[in-house]
Symmetry: C2
């Protein structure tokens, strides 16, 4: 399976970006390949298209499954496994976002909680405790907010996103409503 120049371009770019998105080059390329192809692909097709080893594909699939980004399908009368993106583009983006929050925010939140409980002993640590509390509160807000977004339906999210520059107006509106009641 060789790729058209345009598709190859796209796949290579996603490979380069891969490490910035939280995985590695190979895995970036794999997601791109699966997303850009309407039909599911076999592990061998992936290896051949990307010119990487079969073992590497296997490890990549495993990693992608841990991110819940791929699903396995089968074609009747064919025992090979076929891989496809697990949901719409939007679903995939959502999962990456969520997974990254888990890896980038949650462990810190846990540590900070513990440190806050410890309290400040020496007076020299007063400032440090304050800073830790501030960071904690910020991260907790981000966590709650992102959980909130996850709960919205795609349509609601679209609406929210499209609010654009009127976000601040909505906030003002909310304020006024709260004051009245």
């Amino acid at each position: 399976m060789s790729l058209s120049p345009k598709i190859e371009n796209f796949v290579l770019h996603c490979g380069e970006m891969g490490s910035r998105w939280g995985f590695n080059r190979t895995i970036g390329q794999m997601v791109a390949l699966l997303v850009i192809h309407e039909q599911p692909l076999t592990a061998n097709e992936i290896a051949e298209s990307l010119k990487i080893s079969r073992g590497n594909v296997s490890m990549g699939i495993k990693e992608l499954q841990s991110w819940q980004l791929v699903k396995v399908t089968h074609i009747p009368g064919d025992r090979k496994e076929y891989y496809a993106p697990n949901g719409s583009i939007w679903d995939l983006a959502n999962r990456v976002f969520e997974e990254r929050r888990k890896r980038e925010v949650d462990p810190t939140l846990t540590l900070l909680r513990d440190q806050i409980l410890e309290g400040g002993n020496s007076p020299e640590e007063e400032y440090a405790n304050n800073q830790i509390q501030t960071i904690h509160d910020l991260l907790e807000t981000i966590t709650k907010w992102s959980a909130e977004l996850q709960r919205l339906s795609p349509e609601q999210l679209q609406t929210l996103m499209k609010l654009g520059s009127s976000v601040s107006k909505v906030i003002d509106l909310k304020d006024k409503l709260l004051k009245k009641s």
Copy 2:
């Protein structure tokens, strides 16, 4: 300069998380150290506290400056440079967020725009073009939205964040208002 166990814990943790936040261990530790200390620190103090080389500190500072996370200060009668966080915790988080968007989203947006302009030649590429368009639209929405958030004042952001579960109510409200007018 040696660190108290609690502060050392915090600094080491931020080091481990560093690579997940978009920089490396040393830089993660440096930010943590600067944030946790009320007084600005010299490059030598940083090197000594973190037990890393002077050169490494210099490169780290440079990187942190490219992220706009540190500022240089001077103490009258002392020619050494003192480093401190460039703004509040909130400011720093904001900058990291923004910088990451630039590195993680913008390059892809540029590529996709070009690819969309190229158009689809072979009928086999129809599907690919559709996917590319979808990804493009998603990324553009994210970009616009995040620019929007940047424009809000810290207070407005606080309000927005604290809306929490009432976000969907606000959206509904907006819908109703739009229909009336």
